[in-house]
């Protein structure tokens, strides 16, 4: 009898048969609950094959797969595949299934941040591109409008599949499952459509480890093809350094990273950067600057150079409830530029208006901790004045960086004269005239406490 057969033989038969019997689906669904992970994954793949061969069976698979999706990665995998192949059918079935579930298990599903509901969202999001369900909104309300404005992914699959910067959705499902499998997270549920950020496409996800949930930015890093071992090795070193200093205050936490199936990293999720924010008051700016400089000072003490500090590498969570709450600035992209600048145009990864002269001409010296101090000076300029230090086209900016300094902050905004000295010293063209250490810079920033203009 089929039901008594060795599970592995059944999976092998389904995967190799030229004419798959749809009656195997029931047994394969049962195999998703067995203890052997290899069997579960095999059964999931076999179910995908059954769905391919018998589209009429899809409707009957959605419910059982959704039931198991909370607990079983393999079921989730099969559900994602089926959802990508037959979006309309799965959509209908999920709606029916959720309605019935809510009627019967309302109390159980009312837990606001249960990972289970997010896992169900995974299949839906990829089909319909909808926002988080009402329960999730209690935690992640800020992305709701954005998601609703996005076109329905299921509808524009055909066009998006070949659009530059957008992968086909079936491929997305594949790598996401692999990343989930490789990562330290028990589950990774994508909460929002992909965003194009520096160094790669980024997904806002919910990561679950031992029932603890984390807001995670999952980033697929751009990079040369997989044959460039030196690039991968150098990047791995930098990422290892970043992970080692993730405990430093005001440094964005790097949860995990690997180069399988391609280079990816998982960090804390941040919604905005300094470049998105308005000008701060002098007291606020000094507070933010002090924290950033303190973080860099600690990084330097531990032998880590950021090498690419600008307004976009200073991130903020962006999810405060009270507008008056201070959001801590967080240093993002630690050390990545020192790897990427050798293979790509550095201006993709570092705003030229914040770049130190040594980025433009070798004669100004190496990229080292003094470059970070320049970057901090430029960020301080942005914090205190609300404007970047330079404006104009790339060549104009380059010319000004190499020949003259930026206008003094006091000429741009109402700031104390001490800010001119501090920013001027940090952004000095020659390293000799720059702060020797970030600690010196921090010490002088302290003098601005309480000196609001």
């Amino acid at each position: 009898m089929t039901s008594e057969r060795d599970p592995r033989a059944l999976v092998a038969e389904v995967l190799t048969a030229s004419d798959v019997d749809r009656t195997h689906a029931g047994r394969l669904l049962d195999l998703l609950d067995v203890g052997d992970r290899q069997v579960r994954l095999g059964a999931a793949t076999a179910l995908c094959v059954v769905a391919d061969e018998h589209p009429g069976a899809v409707a009957s698979l959605v419910g059982p797969l959704s039931d198991r999706a909370d607990e079983r990665l393999a079921a989730n995998l099969a559900l994602e595949y089926v959802a990508d192949r037959y979006p309309a059918v799965v959509e209908d079935r999920l709606d029916q299934w959720e309605t019935s579930l809510e009627n019967t298990h309302r109390v159980e599903r009312s837990t606001p941040t249960r990972g289970g509901s997010d896992n169900r969202e995974v299949g839906r999001a990829r089909v319909a591109g909808e926002g988080a369900d009402p329960d999730d909104r209690q935690v992640y309300t800020d992305e709701e409008e954005e998601e609703e404005d996005r076109p329905r992914a299921g509808e524009d699959d055909a066009e998006d599949g070949n659009t530059i910067g957008h992968r086909p959705r079936a491929a997305d499902a594949e790598w996401r499952s692999l990343v989930e499998y490789e990562s330290q997270f028990d589950r990774l549920a994508v909460l929002a459509p992909r965003e194009r950020r520096r160094y790669g496409d980024t997904y806002r996800t919910l990561g679950v480890v031992d029932e603890t949930e984390y807001a995670v930015a999952l980033r697929l890093l751009d990079g040369p093809d997989g044959t460039d071992g030196e690039f991968a090795a150098t990047l791995a070193t930098r990422l290892a350094e970043w992970a080692a200093v993730s405990d430093v205050e005001n440094v964005l936490t790097l949860y995990d990273w690997k180069d399988d199936p391609q280079l990816w990293l998982a960090t804390e999720y941040t919604a905005e950067t300094l470049a998105d924010r308005e000008r701060f008051s002098t007291t606020e700016a000094a507070w933010h600057a002090e924290r950033l400089v303190g973080a860099v000072s600690t990084l330097h003490e531990r032998g880590v150079v950021h090498a690419g500090i600008d307004a976009q590498s200073v991130a903020y969570y962006g999810n405060v409830i009270d507008e008056d709450d201070r959001q801590p600035p967080l240093l993002d992209n630690l050390g990545l530029l020192s790897v990427y600048r050798h293979r790509f145009d550095p201006s993709q990864f570092l705003d030229p208006r914040y770049a130190a002269p040594e980025y433009y001409q070798r004669r100004f010296g190496r990229i080292d901790h003094a470059t970070d101090i320049y970057g901090l000076g430029a960020v301080c300029y942005r914090l205190f004045t609300g404007e970047p230090p330079y404006t104009g086209a790339f060549e104009d900016v380059r010319e000004e960086v190499l020949s003259a300094g930026p206008p003094e902050p006091s000429a741009i905004a109402d700031v104390p004269p001490a800010v001119d000295d501090i920013v001027g010293k940090a952004m000095a063209r020659r390293k000799l005239a720059r702060y020797e250490t970030a600690a010196h810079l921090r010490q002088e920033l302290r003098s601005l406490r309480g000196g609001d203009a």
Binding site: G365, L432, E444
Partner: protein, 241 residues
């Protein structure tokens, strides 16, 4: 057995002092070479306009100290008398003072109408002083007048270096920068190196020369050690270029 005439010209009839001088001058020559080498490497690596003068001055200052030390060793080990060696040390002090000024001015440039002319005048006077001392010592030896000019020039140069050092410490645009640290490292070199020739003023007022020599050897050692710490800063700067 024939006795060997060692150290007679430098520290007459005092083998202990001769030996201490030998150690001190060897130290100064080695550390001076290191200092000059790293200043030169900085000069080669740095192509910035204002940086050149700084590193050139420092490299030459190191060589001046090395010249003084080597001539002193020749005096210790031979019967030749080379009083003009002190002129080389004075030249080293002058070059260090110039380096301090260049360093300070690289951060705080002279603004229009501000003390630019007095600085040039003082520089010319210092050059004349150094040349007069060197030529005087070479031609007429340790004449009291030459010793007086030498001592006063050394004190003047130490004073000038001290002024730039103090200004740097007080100037907001300098505090905390690499230039500030380099100023602080070079200042003791200038002061100790200047005290070696300046102490000859004590001979003019009647102090026994052997006592002066005992004190001078201390300042030679201090000059060597401060050169060593300043070299650390030069190496650090080189690493960032």
């Amino acid at each position: 057995m024939r006795s060997i005439a060692v150290g007679l010209p430098y520290a007459p009839n005092n083998p202990n002092l001769t030996f201490i001088f030998f150690i001190a001058l060897t130290l100064l020559s080695v550390l001076g070479v290191r200092f000059s080498y790293y200043a030169y490497r900085n000069r080669q690596t740095s192509e910035l306009g204002t940086g050149e003068r700084l590193w050139e001055s420092l490299a030459l200052a190191g060589l001046g100290a090395v010249g003084f030390a080597l001539l002193g060793l020749v005096e210790l080990l031979t019967v030749y008398v080379l009083p003009f060696k002190m002129g080389l040390l004075l030249a080293a002090v002058f070059l260090l003072a110039v380096a301090l000024r260049v360093l300070y001015r690289s951060v705080v440039p002279v603004t229009a109408g501000e003390e630019g002319d007095p600085e040039r005048g003082l520089t010319r006077a210092a050059v004349v002083g150094v040349v007069v001392v060197f030529a005087g010592l070479a031609l007429v030896g340790r004449h009291p007048l030459v010793l007086a000019v030498m001592g006063l020039s050394a004190l003047g140069l130490a004073l000038a270096g001290g002024v730039y050092g103090r200004r740097g410490a007080a100037e907001a645009r300098v505090q905390g920068t690499v230039a500030d640290t380099l100023l602080r490292h070079l200042l003791p070199v200038v002061l100790f190196a200047a005290l070696v020739p300046a102490l000859d003023l004590a001979v003019l007022v009647g102090l026994d020369r052997i006592v002066v020599l005992h004190i001078q050897v201390v300042f030679v050692i201090m000059t060597a050690t401060t050169l060593m710490t300043a070299t650390i800063k030069l190496r650090q700067n080189l690493a960032s270029l």
